[in-house]
C-alpha cells in the first residue's frame, strides 16, 4: 500500500477542534512542512500535545503564532514568548506535564495500558487532582494515557508504506506519538522503495503510519 501524499492533502484530514500530537524537541524533529501546511489551512481550535513550544514561527510555534491553538499540553514553553503572552491573555490554556511523564502517558495510550505509576512530581504542584497509589510502601501518581486524533511526526527516511528510520536527536517524541493517534502522518526527508530499509533497522513499523509526505532535506 502506497501511503505517499502531499502535505496539503494530508493535513486536510485534521479537523477544527482536533487533538494533535506534534513531534520534535525545540523544533528538531518537528514536521515543519506539515505544520506550515496546517497553518496555511487555518484549521483552528486545536489542542496540541508536544514536548515544548519551540520558537515563534518555528516547529509547533507555527501553529501558536497563527492563533490556531486553544489548548497546549506540553513540558516547556520557555523558548517561545508568544505562547506565554497568549496564555497570559487567556487565548491559550496551557497544561504543563513533566517531560518524562508526558512520554509515558503517550506511550501508555499507544501500548494499550490503562495508566502508569510514576513518582515524578510527588510533593509538588503536579500532584493536584491526581490519585496517589501505594505499591509496596512507596507512593506513586497514577498517570493516565494521553491519546490524540492526529499525530504529525517527522522521520529521516521512509519507504512508501511508512516504515520509518530516524536520525540523531530528531527521533525524540516521534516514535511514541506514532503509536498513540487515530491518524498518523509522517513527514520524511528521504523516500525509498519498499524493501530498501533493513527490517532490523526500522524504528516505527509501517503498520503505525497512515500517510507519508516527502519533505525537503534541510542539509
Amino acid at each position: 500500500m502506497d501511503k505517499v501524499t502531499t502535505a496539503i492533502d494530508a493535513v486536510k484530514r485534521v479537523k477544527q477542534g482536533s487533538t494533535v500530537m506534534i513531534g520534535g524537541f525545540l523544533s528538531v524533529g518537528a514536521p515543519q512542512q506539515l505544520l506550515a501546511a496546517l497553518a496555511k489551512q487555518m484549521i483552528n481550535e486545536l489542542t496540541i500535545i508536544c514536548c515544548a513550544a519551540d520558537y515563534p514561527q518555528d516547529g509547533v510555534g507555527r501553529l501558536i503564532s497563527a492563533g490556531l491553538v486553544k489548548r497546549a499540553i506540553l513540558s516547556h514553553s520557555g523558548t517561545n514568548p508568544e505562547i506565554e503572552e497568549r496564555a497570559a491573555a487567556g487565548e491559550i490554556e496551557v497544561e504543563f506535564i513533566p517531560q518524562g511523564t508526558l512520554t509515558e502517558r503517550i506511550r501508555a495510550a499507544g501500548m494499550g495500558l490503562g495508566g502508569v505509576l510514576i513518582s515524578t512530581g510527588l510533593g509538588t504542584a503536579i500532584e493536584e487532582g491526581k490519585r496517589t497509589i501505594e505499591v509496596d510502601g512507596n507512593s506513586f501518581l497514577l498517570e493516565k494515557p494521553l491519546k490524540a486524533d492526529v499525530a504529525l511526526i517527522k522521520a529521516a527516511r521512509s519507504d512508501h508504506t511508512g516504515n520509518l528510520v530516524y536520525h540523531g536527536a530528531a527521533r525524540n517524541f516521534n516514535p511514541l506519538m506514532a503509536t498513540a493517534a487515530d491518524l498518523v502522518i509522517a513527514e520524511v526527508e528521504e523516500l525509498v522503495p519498499v524493501g530498501e530499509i533493513d527490517p532490523d533497522q526500522v524504528v516505527t513499523p509501517a503498520i503505525f503510519v497512515d500517510l507519508v509526505v516527502q519533505a525537503k532535506r534541510r542539509r
Binding site: F25, V28, A87, V94, G100, S119, T124, H167, R171
Partner: protein, 224 residues
C-alpha cells in the same frame, strides 16, 4: 573573584564528584561548564534528555548536524560509542536508576533537600521540562549554584518558598562559597572555598547547618 571565576570554581568542584563510568546529566548554565573540568584519568558519559548518550564537544562552524542538539537547543556532537534513542528511553534512563548524577541549577534549595527551579508564582511558564524527572530519578542530585542571587539574596534557605521541582531530592550543594551535604539531620558544611570565612558563608545562608567535624577542627575551637 569575578563571576566567571566563581562559576568555574563551582564547575571544577562538581567535576571532582564524578567517578569513572558515571552517566551524568548536566543542566543549563553552570552545570554545563562541568564538562570542561572532568579529571583526565576518568571517562564520564554525558546524557542529553532529548535523546542520546555520549555528548561530545560543539561542532566546528559549518559542520553542525541540524539534528544533533543538546537539551538547551545548542548544536553539539556525539562521541564514538554514543547512541541515540527516543524520549521514552531517555526518561526511562533517568527514572529507572540508570543516571548516576544530575547536576542542576536552582532558584532555591532548602535544608531538607527540597529544590525549586522551574517556575515563580504569577507566571504561566516556562514549564518544568525534564527537571522534575531528573531530580526524582537521578541516583545522586548535585546542585551547582552561586550562593546568592544577583541581588545578594540567599539561595540556600530553611524551607523553599517557591513551587517545588522535587521533594527531598538533593544530595549535595556546591556553591562558590563551599560544599554542603544534605543529610537526614539537615545541612552539613563539608568545605569552605579557600579564602572564604565561615562568617561570610553563614551570613549568606538562610538555613541552619552543622559543620563537618574535621572542617570544624580546622576552623578552630570557637566554631561548630
Amino acid at each position: 573573584m569575578d563571576k566567571r571565576a566563581r562559576r568555574e570554581y563551582i564547575a571544577r568542584r562538581v567535576a571532582q564528584e564524578l567517578s569513572n563510568g558515571d552517566v551524568v546529566n548536566l543542566g543549563i548554565g553552570i552545570p554545563t561548564l562541568v564538562a570542561n573540568f572532568i579529571p583526565a584519568e576518568i571517562t564520564v558519559i554525558f546524557h542529553s534528555e532529548n535523546g542520546f548518550v555520549g555528548i561530545g564537544p560543539p561542532p566546528r562552524e559549518g559542520e553542525e548536524d541540524p539534528d544533533i542538539i543538546n537539551a538547551g537547543g545548542q548544536f553539539v556532537t556525539i562521541l564514538p560509542g554514543g547512541a541515540f534513542f527516543d524520549s521514552t528511553l531517555s526518561f526511562g534512563i533517568i527514572r529507572g536508576g540508570h543516571l548516576d548524577i544530575a547536576v542542576l541549577g536552582v532558584l532555591e534549595v532548602d535544608a531538607q533537600g527540597n529544590l525549586a527551579n522551574w517556575t515563580v508564582p504569577g507566571r504561566s511558564g516556562p514549564g518544568m521540562g525534564g527537571a522534575m524527572d531528573l531530580v526524582t530519578g537521578a541516583k545522586r542530585v548535585i546542585v551547582a549554584t552561586e550562593h546568592t542571587t544577583k541581588s545578594g539574596r540567599p539561595k540556600i534557605v530553611e524551607r523553599c518558598a517557591l513551587p517545588l521541582t522535587g521533594e527531598r531530592v538533593v544530595d549535595l550543594i556546591v556553591s562558590d562559597l563551599g560544599v554542603l551535604e544534605v543529610t537526614p539531620n539537615g545541612l552539613l558544611l563539608k568545605e569552605l572555598r579557600p579564602g572564604v570565612t565561615i562568617d561570610e558563608l553563614q551570613a549568606k545562608t538562610a538555613a541552619r547547618f552543622s559543620i563537618q567535624p574535621c572542617l570544624a577542627a580546622e576552623l578552630g575551637p570557637a566554631i561548630g
